[in-house]
């Protein structure tokens, strides 16, 4: 087919006209409801950037769900088309790179507040960067939404503008002991002794300290308390000590390499603990499951997110599909929390009906979201006076049939737990 000259002119005229009209209508809509700028500070380059880039994809997924028209997703703000109480206003994310450095995170937070005029900031993966971002936010009286910082001390500093949707480390360990209590009552075979093994890092030290406190409170004796050098060439001696102690539940806090090494070392001794309850980290990595194969069967871990809980949280498949399209990955413990932080913030802005900071803080304080309205397996979202979400109840997951499935709490569980203690 050949273009006629007149046709070409007409075609371009039409193109210019339609472009003009489109711009007009967009400008008109923008004037109706201005975008709402929201800051997000994560490590986007350097150390930790992989997590930061995943967070960026998760937040963009949620912004797309809130802003664009699409078939409704069964969750809060899942209908699309902007914020209803603000005339369909759209949330606009402005990302800043902390490079995982507290000073740079501080400077970026200040820039977002003073130059980009964001109404709130979401962040930030590491607790060190959260310490400085939340401080700047507090001074400028702008809410800081902690989506994934797990250090309990962050919410104990008396900050008035700090809100944490995520559970913190104490809540994670509490879930393990809640599970022990529940399974003991359910089966009549409660655990009678624990063994702890943890690496000699801040992660291992914090994890084991809380576990010891809670074991003492639950009157559960710790029969082995083993601290080891992270990334050791061998954990055979440690495995031998664990076998000798023969506890009902082994509670490891280790990253991937050590988790693999520990499972293999125990297997070589022909020792299998009746139950293993891991503090996330190495035990939930795909590399761990691939490396130890059938040895991982029955291993339990805590998690803030349950990808398999689709019956209790029907929004998961649609949200996960959108996230997959952006990042090529499934939602996980971190990205699920980050995505939900934006949902909670957008809901508060919508209820406030305004971007005024005091109204927004009042709306955040009044937040009361049923867990079913999110993709998280939590009871819900409700902040106490320190800004901590007290209903962010973690789940216990167990490797059954080669993959993690949710076994506790029963409201969101997809499987009955395998429990060999006391048999």
């Amino acid at each position: 087919m050949r273009w006629r000259p007149g046709g070409r002119v007409r075609f371009f005229a039409a193109l210019v006209l339609s472009g003009f009209l489109l711009a007009q209508s967009m400008a008109a809509r923008a004037a109706d409801a201005p975008d709402i700028p929201i800051g997000a500070v994560f490590p986007l380059t350097g150390n930790g950037s992989e997590v930061g880039l995943d967070a960026k994809a998760a937040l963009e997924t949620e912004a797309e769900i809130i802003n664009t028209p699409h078939p409704p997703i069964p969750m809060l703000l899942g209908a699309g088309g902007g914020l209803p109480h603000l005339g369909g206003a759209k949330v606009r994310l402005i990302f800043a790179d902390s490079q995982n450095d507290p000073q740079k995170a501080r400077a970026e937070a200040e820039r977002l507040i003073t130059q980009e005029h964001v109404v709130a900031i979401i962040g930030s993966y590491t607790s060190a960067t959260a310490a400085t971002i939340s401080q700047v936010a507090d001074r400028y009286e702008i809410p800081y939404i902690s989506s994934d910082n797990s250090s309990p001390s962050l919410s104990a500093r008396g900050l008035k503008w700090f809100f944490r949707t995520s559970p913190h480390d104490v809540m994670f360990t509490q879930a393990m002991f809640d599970f022990f209590d529940w399974i003991g009552k359910k089966t009549g075979r409660p655990p009678k002794s624990l063994a702890l093994i943890y690496e000699d890092s801040i992660f291992g030290a914090d994890s084991s300290r809380v576990q010891k406190e809670m074991a003492a409170a639950a009157h559960l004796p710790i029969v082995a308390d083993i601290r080891y050098r992270a990334n050791s060439p061998s954990l055979s001696a440690e495995a031998e000590r664990l076998r000798a102690a023969h506890a009902d539940v082994l509670m490891p806090s280790s990253y991937t390499n050590d988790a693999i090494l520990l499972m293999r070392a125990m297997h070589e001794l022909g020792y299998q603990p009746p139950a293993i309850m891991a503090q996330d980290a190495g035990f939930v990595q795909k590399a761990f499951l691939d490396a130890v194969g059938p040895l991982a069967e029955g291993v339990m871990s805590r998690s803030a997110f349950a990808l398999d809980a689709v019956a209790a949280r029907p929004a998961i498949p649609a949200v996960n599909q959108r996230y997959r399209a952006r990042s090529g990955k499934d939602l996980n413990d971190l990205t699920g929390r980050e995505l939900t932080a934006l949902q909670v913030l957008a809901d508060a802005i919508d209820r406030a009906g305004s971007t005024d900071h005091e109204k927004l803080r009042a709306a955040l304080r009044a937040t009361d979201i049923d867990g079913k309205q999110t993709i998280m397996p939590w009871q819900g979202v409700r902040f106490d006076e320190t800004g901590q979400n007290v209903e962010a109840t973690p789940v216990i997951q167990q490797v059954i049939g080669g993959a993690y499935v949710t076994v506790f709490p029963p409201e969101v569980a997809t499987h009955a737990p395998l429990w060999h203690v006391g048999e």
């Binding site: 986007l44 380059t45 350097g46 950037s49 930061g52 880039l53 960026k56 402005i94 990302f95 800043a96 790179d97 490079q99 450095d101 507290p102 000073q103 740079k104 501080r106 400077a107 970026e108 200040e110 820039r111 003073t114 130059q115 607790s127 060190a128 310490a131 400085t132 401080q135 507090d138 001074r139 400028y140 250090s151 001390s153 500093r157 008396g158 900050l159 000699d200 890092s201 801040i202 030290a205």
Partner: protein, 333 residues
């Protein structure tokens, strides 16, 4: 034959005075310009640039004038930052804690220098790197100083005594200006004093310096004392400004490089070098992160790395040599 400690010739003295006037004019201009900055982002940029100018000038006393390359200055910075933070947590005024921080930093540098200055060349650089790393690991595991979680100072209201201000940046700008200006003034004064000549003699040829009666070990220790104290003072000011310290942000080996880098880029052993280096390096690093880092594609680091490589290739003697080149050209023309 002239004695090595004789007074410099009148023309040299004149040049020294001219340099001093130019430096004083530069800091005065910064003060006037800084007073007019109302945007917190620009103010923050100036504060960080001045902090690194002061740190690099401190490093320059030992690494530039005296020729003892240290790759462990993060240690003194960290000690100053931690000491100031611990004092603030005990409600000791920050302005009282800063001199103590400088003292501790200077003492630490002397303690390390006592045995390690017996080593020469690269051995000293490697020893400082290793010692700083060991102390970093110690702090990472030491609960009393917050271990890896670090220490946080919460806001207690505005106070000059505590260098604590809600959102105002000018007081910090003033403090950093005094800091960078003070260290530069010290370097300027010493550069024409006997100690400055001794340092350069030790740098150029320790054996020859010793044969002329220079106490090589003592003058190295004096350089370490002043350099360590200046760096720790900078660490204390950083702690007052950021209100959060952890081993990764105030003691990691990366920081040792960041302290030396402006001096190396600007010109080692020159008065202007650390100032020019910080004036170029900090804004490039900050702007590239703020306006390119958000994409998450690492452009900012590429630009930053590219600039450092370009300077290393085309101006290995540092950016300050451009100034000298211009001045020479002006004189011959």
């Amino acid at each position: 034959m002239s004695h090595p400690h004789a007074l410099p010739a009148p023309s040299l003295l004149l040049a020294h005075r001219r340099r001093g006037l130019a430096l004083a004019g530069f800091f005065l201009l910064l003060l006037l310009g800084g007073a007019g900055v109302s945007d917190p982002y620009t103010a923050n940029l100036l504060i960080i640039a001045l902090l690194f100018a002061g740190l690099a000038q401190s490093w320059n006393l030992l690494g530039g004038f005296c020729g003892q390359i240290s790759l462990g200055h993060a240690l003194y910075f960290g000690l100053g930052a931690y000491l100031t933070t611990l004092a603030r947590l005990d409600h000791i005024p920050t302005l009282a804690a800063l001199p103590a921080a400088a003292l501790v930093g200077g003492a630490a540098a002397v303690l390390i220098g006592l045995p390690v200055f017996r080593l020469t060349g690269h051995h000293y650089a490697i020893a400082t790197l290793v010692i700083a790393e060991a102390v970093y690991l110690l702090f990472l595991n030491w609960d009393w100083v917050g271990a890896a979680s670090g220490l946080f100072v919460s806001y207690q209201g505005e106070s000059w005594l505590d260098l604590s201000f809600r959102t105002s940046k000018f007081p910090y700008l003033l403090a950093m200006l005094l800091y960078a200006g003070g260290i530069t003034a010290l370097a300027w004064a010493l550069s024409a004093a006997r100690l400055g000549y001794d340092w350069r003699a030790v740098r150029d040829d320790p054996a020859a310096a010793a044969s002329l009666g220079v106490g090589v070990h003592q003058v190295k220790l004096l350089a370490a004392l002043l350099s360590g104290a200046g760096t720790a003072l900078g660490g204390g000011l950083y702690a007052a400004y950021v209100n959060y310290v952890d081993p990764d942000s105030v003691m990691a080996s990366r920081l040792s490089i960041e302290i030396a880098l402006p001096a190396v880029m600007g010109g080692v052993g020159t008065l202007w070098g650390p100032l020019i280096g910080a004036a170029v390096e900090v804004p490039v690093s900050e702007f590239s992160r703020s306006y390119m880092g958000g994409s998450g594609q690492g452009f900012d680091l590429m630009v930053y790395g590219g600039l450092i490589m370009a300077i290393a290739l085309f101006r290995p003697e540092g950016l300050a040599s451009l100034l000298a080149g211009l001045r020479r050209r002006g004189r011959t023309a």
